[in-house]
């Protein structure tokens, strides 16, 4: 949150990514040891994976005075949840903690080392009498010959069980010392030893609730680590924005479940099926759906079969307007009528929400194209002899437009489920539902109106206007941006507190709204160990080529202290059109 740039460093760290529209700088105030309250979402690249797990390893090693491999075994068992591990430690004590995870810290002097060559021993696996120096004893005390150990490790690694290779003895829960595995396997199969190491490293991602692979295809090779809250939206350094919880596209204010249902609903043809139930009847002979396009109740299918439209039963062809010869089905069937009515109503309801959802998604796509033309206008304007130099308000406004369009479009599937019967049928009375719906729709409409207004102003050909007129538009855009931000924030608050907050079921977690957009994960600092340095630039892997560099030295601004969920950033200077700060109050921008 807190970053202000000092001009001198600016060009030095300039990278082309800065020009991307979402180029909100990533704040990385905690690239050194200093714990930060700022954004803590991290990109973990292949290079920083080791550093990422070292933090946790180090904590456990220090706390329990363990060696690294023991700490790793423990952490793998507890899925890298240090807090959980500590809870078990407090609750059950060290001995149980270790036993459960298969850690044997009772160190025999000859652990992992061969016996004297003079003595021989029986290997219980191959059942051969072998010289002691070809055998290895694990920390659990079981001794087998090196060939058998190696074979065992190879099978386990190939089975994908590198992370927990147990001792060969029956019912021995001990996890084999990774150093022994590495050295024995490495002698015969160096490639497998590498695989083993990689599996151990990747356990930090695979077994960790707070770390997930970026779902990009083709895969960018990165993983994202979040802190505290799994229900959030993040942006990987490869540029992909996604919901951390369900790994699909960022979809707030829809919950993951709503989004899943919605995409499924849009994908499959359930609504087409609905239409067919409402408007057609199956032919009793060929079973094709037949639509009645007028006339009396005797319908004939293209297959030639005649049937009664009222009951769907096959009939003869003799009929009048009021009756079909030899056929009577006058009894009223309330059930079916109701069903048809319901299907019709559901269909219209879905169409209502879907049309609006689609409209905003389409606008969003169009506006993305518009971005280029607008940026062009900006550069034209900048060329002009004018007292106006700063056009950051355009890009800021444009960005705000994109953000709010998305929010708006996802607010429709949210409303579809929030006020529908599928998810919350028994959670609200009809009256409650109605009140809530009004509340929400009011906000939605306000937001919608302002978003359209903003869109209108941004499309003005301001490059052809006089300075005064441009200033006017600028004022409007800045004001609207602030209003829209506030409205989005309010809508999320309303959802969280008034709509979902009062319900029994709490399975709907909504990723929080962030004024500055979806949080961009920052590169994980890898200088925590002996490479510590005082300059920021060495704190980042040099080869994280895909990512937007944001690693400017940072002078800490005061963190947001007004209790607002979307942390505001301190005033900062802006550099050219590619920069924008969405959160500066209008009056601050005005003074610029």
């Amino acid at each position: 949150m807190e970053d202000s740039t000092s001009g001198g460093e600016e060009d030095y760290y300039y990278s082309s990514d800065r020009e991307s529209l979402d180029g909100l700088e990533n704040e990385d105030s905690d690239f050194q040891w200093a714990p930060s309250k700022g954004p803590t979402t991290k990109v973990i690249t292949k290079e920083s994976l080791l550093a990422a797990q070292r933090e946790d390893l180090r904590r456990v090693m220090d706390m329990l005075s363990l060696r690294e491999h023991h700490a790793r075994t423990l952490l793998i068992h507890y899925r890298w949840d240090v807090e959980k591990l500590l809870a078990v430690l407090v609750e059950k004590g060290k001995a149980d903690l270790f036993a459960e995870a298969g850690v044997s810290v009772v160190e025999c002097e000859d652990t992992g080392s061969p016996l004297l060559s003079s003595s021989t021993a029986m290997c219980d696996i191959c059942m051969e009498e072998l010289p002691g120096d070809t055998m290895t004893k694990m920390a659990c005390g079981h001794r087998f010959c090196n060939d058998c150990w190696t074979e065992h490790f190879v099978v386990k690694i190939n089975e994908g069980q590198s992370r927990r290779i147990r001792c060969m003895a029956h019912k021995c829960n001990a996890i084999c010392d990774e150093a022994v595995v590495r050295s024995l396997v490495g002698k015969k199969h160096p490639d497998l030893a590498e695989k083993f190491d990689r599996f151990l490293l990747e356990s930090y991602i695979e077994d960790n609730r707070m770390v997930k692979w970026c779902p990009s295809t083709p895969h960018c090779g990165n993983a994202i680590r979040v802190e505290d809250d799994e229900f959030c939206e993040v942006e990987c350094s490869c540029g992909l924005q996604f919901c951390f919880s369900c790994l699909s596209e960022a979809h707030s204010p829809c919950s993951c479940m709503m989004w899943e249902l919605w995409t499924k609903k849009c994908r499959d043809e359930s609504e087409t099926v609905n239409w067919i139930t409402v408007h057609t009847k199956p032919c009793p002979k060929c079973h094709k759906p037949v639509e009645k396009n007028g006339g009396c109740n005797l319908v004939s299918c293209i297959c030639g079969q005649a049937f009664c439209w009222l009951c769907g039963g096959a009939t003869g062809r003799d009929h009048t307007w009021s009756r079909i010869a030899g056929h009577s089905c006058g009894r009223y069937k309330e059930d079916r009528e109701k069903k048809t009515e319901r299907a019709k109503r559901d269909l219209y309801r879905y169409m209502h929400y879907h049309n609006r959802y689609k409209a905003h998604t389409d606008s969003f796509k169009l506006e993305s194209k518009l971005k280029e033309t607008i940026l062009e206008k900006v550069s034209i304007s900048e060329e002009r002899e004018s007292r106006l130099r700063d056009f950051s308000w355009v890009t800021n406004g444009l960005y705000r437009l994109f953000r709010s369009r998305r929010v708006l479009s996802y607010s429709y599937p949210f409303a579809f489920y929030m006020f529908g019967e599928e998810l919350f049928k028994d959670e609200m009375t009809n009256d409650e539902r109605e009140i809530k719906q009004h509340l929400f729709e009011d906000q939605q409409q306000q937001l919608e109106a302002n978003v359209e207004k903003l869109s209108m102003f941004l499309e003005e050909p301001f490059d052809q206007y006089t300075d005064d007129k441009v200033m006017e538009i600028r004022m409007q855009v800045i004001n609207l941006s602030v209003i829209i931000d506030t409205l989005c924030k309010k809508m999320y608050e309303c959802i969280e507190n008034d709509l979902l907050g009062s319900l029994q079921c709490n399975t709907h977690n909504i990723a929080p709204y962030k004024s500055k957009g979806i949080e961009k994960a920052s590169e994980l600092a890898v200088c925590w160990n002996n490479k510590a340095s005082t300059t920021a630039d060495t704190c980042f892997p040099s080869d994280c080529g895909t990512s937007g560099k944001h690693d400017r030295p940072i002078s800490l601004g005061s963190a947001d202290d007004n209790g607002c969920p979307s942390q505001k950033r301190p005033k900062k200077e802006t550099y050219g059109g590619a920069f924008f700060d969405l959160n500066l109050p209008a009056e601050v921008l005005d003074r610029n």
Partner: protein, 194 residues
């Protein structure tokens, strides 16, 4: 590659101890990867008196991978498929340890016969019966042992024959025999009293 030296040693050990354990393992052909195991039904169970044949296939990774085992003899047991003879036993799957042997594995199978685990069934029908109508289960298991796991399973046909000759219907005779676990006298008593 299968460690044939070890398999050889295992076979020797088995044949040395076969009188005490009652368990026999013998190769089907000369390549040692296909074997046949025989386990006696444990005393005090519906499988008592039966002799169960188990088909053993050693995977390439043996003994680092578990041997594949299944019943050839039909058996009525919650953890053994009554259709295919497949066995649901942890040590034949993820709990296998290279320190286990064919003999210990067969002993475990034998132990499974005396201690079924109906909550983790291989054969749902049998498991249901075990949980809901234990007596029927015991009857059926005993009848299956009688019919399929005894050298003289033709004895059963003779019993059926004799009872049918006394004037009872074949179907009734079979179900009654099954209900009492193959005991001819009990079956006759039951048939007469019904």
């Amino acid at each position: 590659m299968i460690d044939f030296a070890r398999v050889q040693k295992e076979l020797q050990e088995c044949s040395r101890e076969k009188d005490t354990s009652g368990i026999k393992v013998s190769p089907k052909s000369d390549n040692l990867a296909r074997l046949t195991g025989i386990i006696p039904g444990p005393l005090g169970t519906p499988y008592e008196g039966g002799s169960f044949e188990i088909d053993i296939t050693l995977p390439d990774g043996y003994p680092f991978e578990p041997p594949k085992m299944k019943f050839v003899t039909k058996v009525w047991h919650p953890n053994i498929s009554s259709q295919s003879g497949a066995i649901c036993l942890d040590i034949l799957k993820d709990q296998w340890s290279p320190a286990l042997t064919l003999k210990t594995a067969l002993l475990s199978v034998q132990a499974l016969l005396s201690a079924p685990e109906p909550d983790d069934p291989q054969d749902a029908v049998v498991a249901q019966q075990y949980l809901r109508e234990y007596q029927t289960f015991v009857g059926t298991a005993r009848y299956w042992t009688e019919s399929f796991a005894k050298a003289s399973s033709l004895g059963l046909e003779e019993k059926v024959q004799r009872l049918v000759e006394m004037g009872f219907a074949v179907g009734l005779v079979r179900s009654t025999l099954e209900a009492v676990g193959g005991d001819e006298n009990l079956a006759l008593e039951k048939l007469l009293s019904s």
